[in-house]
């Protein structure tokens, strides 16, 4: 057994080789990070390439077709054929486009999608490129830069469809960024750190994935993540039936495919963050006990990497599944979901999580109950504490559903305009008080 697994120890071999040429500091701070960056960029690019293939296959199976079958066995080489086609296509620039902005926008898009991978922990030990103390904030801020690329692409194309797509996407992404940022706070209350590796090790030391404590947080994060990526059913910025292709209407060849790649990379980013925050990242029960604890370190790292990839792929499959199942939202529905449902859900989730943590702290030590094992570095709960927390998570779904349906009871009434007419927003200076809407609705 052990000798077989020695195969999985190339890092040590490379490390020894590198130490012959460089000093230890250079190897640790410069050479290894560069090797890791190269590996991750290549892997993500290939992964994105095959995500397009997977999407076509999945959509085909859902519609009782076969999908790409001609290039290679089962069409496996189709993505490479597509990439080659796009590379050799002519790179068109519209006549009155703002040339520099037009040419630069795809690069911003790709850079914003790829930089985020620097902080994502793919596995323990050498599965991490870097681990910064503002990890999650870094991810959110860099992905918020991605919207700039869409706006600039739409504006600089000098085309009305592209501009409409850009305006839609900026309104959409600014709205959904809020709920995305708010939805992660619940999970952070347990992890007590923004470092992504810290979040994973918090779940490892607790032996619970945060999705059990935070079902609402996961739901809110995933929905706003899909909206952030402009994926169906939230793909209004590139709604084919209305806007030709939205913000990238005027792009062709490699620049268009850069946008395409950025879209898939951004999907991978959101799935990776959701995996790290809610699905335990690279942590899986019993893996540590059977590998690392028995001395198989390299095997531990490799299995953790595979676990991470499996979780990531599952979430990515969810994207495709939703895309080929749900129809596109109308614009007003999109804004309704963002502002009237998702943001209140995230806020209610924060309050409920705070109440749950306070309850667990208050119960600790009452009648000999023990709920908390440690508060530092992360919140560690005993079995009782976990049960209470999971109970709160499940009850929280019903509480939130009740709160939200109360808030939004009238949101979809047909005679909304009539109600609004009776509330005076202007001319209050005449001394007429604002009148409440009538209780009866026709």
């Amino acid at each position: 057994m052990l000798h077989t697994f020695a195969l999985f120890a190339p890092p040590n071999f490379i490390d020894n080789l590198l130490l012959k040429f460089f000093s230890a500091d250079t190897v640790n701070y410069v050479v290894w990070p560069f090797i890791q960056i190269g590996a991750v960029v290549t892997a993500v690019a290939v992964y994105a390439l095959y995500a397009t293939y997977a999407e076509r296959k999945i959509s085909a199976f859902m519609q009782a077709r076969l999908g790409p079958m001609r290039v290679g066995p089962w069409g496996l080489l189709q993505p490479f054929a597509d990439a080659l086609k796009l590379l050799t296509k002519e790179d068109l620039t519209p006549d009155k486009a703002d040339i520099y902005t037009f040419k630069f926008a795809p690069y911003i898009s790709v850079a914003a999608a790829f930089i985020v991978f620097a902080v994502i922990p793919f596995g323990p030990d050498w599965g991490v490129i870097t681990d910064v103390n503002i990890g999650l904030l870094f991810v959110l801020s860099i992905s918020s830069v991605g919207v700039l690329a869409l706006i600039l692409a739409g504006w600089s194309s000098n085309s009305k469809y592209a501009l409409m797509g850009a305006l839609r996407s900026s309104a959409q992404m600014v709205s959904y960024e809020v709920s995305m940022g708010l939805s992660i706070i619940g999970a952070l209350m347990f992890a007590r750190t923004l470092s992504l590796s810290g979040i994973v090790s918090a779940q490892q030391s607790d032996a619970v994935w945060f999705m059990f404590y935070q079902p609402l947080g996961l739901l809110t994060f995933l929905v706003s993540g899909i909206a952030e990526n402009n994926r169906a059913p939230f793909d209004l910025p590139e709604a084919e039936s209305e806007l030709v292709a939205g913000f990238h209407t005027e792009y062709s060849g490699m620049r268009w495919s850069l946008f395409f790649m950025a879209e898939y990379a951004a999907m991978v980013v959101v799935s990776a963050i959701a995996t790290t925050l809610y699905l335990g990242g690279w942590y899986f029960p019993f893996v540590y006990r059977f590998t690392e604890a028995q001395g198989h370190h390299a095997l531990y790292v490799i299995i953790s990497l595979i676990v991470f990839l499996a979780k990531l792929t599952f979430l990515l499959y969810l994207y495709f599944w939703l895309r080929w199942t749900l129809p596109r939202f109308r614009y007003d529905q999109l804004m309704d979901i963002g502002w009237k449902w998702l943001i209140p859900t995230a806020l209610v989730n924060i309050v409920l999580t705070a109440i749950a943590i306070f309850t667990v702290q208050a119960v600790d030590g009452w009648n000999g109950l023990k709920t908390i094992e440690a508060m530092s570095p992360s919140l560690n709960l005993t079995g009782t504490g976990k049960a209470i927390m999971i109970g709160f998570g499940i009850i929280g779904i019903f509480i939130t559903a009740g709160v939200l349906s109360t808030i939004n009871r009238r949101a979809r009434d047909f005679n909304l305009k009539r109600q609004r007419r009776n509330i005076r927003l202007v001319n209050l200076r005449k001394g007429k008080p604002a009148v409440a809407p009538p209780a009866t609705n026709e």
């Binding site: 703002d98 959110l140 919207v147 700039l148 706006i151 900026s170 960024e177 923004l194 005076r424 001319n427």
Partner: protein, 228 residues
């Protein structure tokens, strides 16, 4: 921040980039280009924050300014027609009085900055060296207690926690006042934007109020008839 080695290189690169981008912000003819240069300037300043060890501020700077404020800026610039300035071929610095005032205030600001820096440096030198050494030692000891990052090459600091703690514990009243101020600004802008005329054109106003408004301003009657 210690200005030597690679840190000095990064400092000079980012500070020069911030200054040049700031200059280009006011010199670009196209409003969108101005916004882009402003974004570059903000990103460079965020990088300088990282060099100062204030990662949280840097992250928030990008999140709020680049990802939020500047996106809204671009949104507005695209909706508003700003063609007049772009088409003109006249020199940019064409108002002598403005340029003179800007130069004078800029020089005053620079002078003030140099004076403040000198005073601060003198004060730092005058204060007890032992005290500074003690603080440095304590910081280093704290650093040793912090959890190590997953790569093992540096430590995860508690800056974010500290910012949050002081913001919500010791500065909660100013924080709440600031948020109320923002709320007032939002409501105020809605009130300013929603005039009777606009509401009438969207057929979204109480008929009684509209009658009174028409009595004051007969123009509105046309909008009303257009709706029917």
């Amino acid at each position: 921040m210690v200005l030597n080695g690679w840190e000095a290189v990064f400092f000079w690169v980012f500070s020069v980039a911030a200054l040049v981008a700031g200059l280009l912000t006011i010199m670009a003819r196209n409003a969108v280009h101005s916004a882009l240069f402003l974004i570059s300037s903000l990103v460079s300043v965020a990088a300088l924050f990282i060099l100062l060890g204030a990662e949280f501020i840097a992250g928030v700077q990008i999140l709020v300014y680049v990802g939020g404020v500047m996106v809204l800026f671009l949104f507005v610039i695209m909706l508003v027609n700003v063609g007049a300035e772009e088409r003109g071929r006249e020199p940019i610095f064409n108002h002598t009085a403005q340029v003179t005032a800007a130069v004078i205030f800029g020089l005053l600001l620079a002078g003030g900055l140099v004076y403040a820096l000198n005073q601060g440096y003198k004060g730092m030198q005058a204060s007890d060296r032992d005290k500074i050494a003690a603080i440095t030692d304590r910081r280093e000891a704290e650093q040793q207690n912090m959890p190590s990052a997953a790569t093992g090459t540096f430590r995860i600091t508690k800056d974010t926690e500290r910012v949050g703690g002081s913001l919500y514990r010791y500065a909660s009243l100013p924080f709440e006042i600031a948020s109320v101020l923002l709320l007032v600004a939002i409501i105020g802008s809605v009130m300013l934007a929603r005039t009777v005329k606009q509401e009438a054109s969207a057929d979204d106003v109480d008929p009684e109020v509209l009658k009174e408004a028409i009595a004051a301003e007969p123009e509105l009657a046309k909008l009303e008839s257009a709706n029917e």
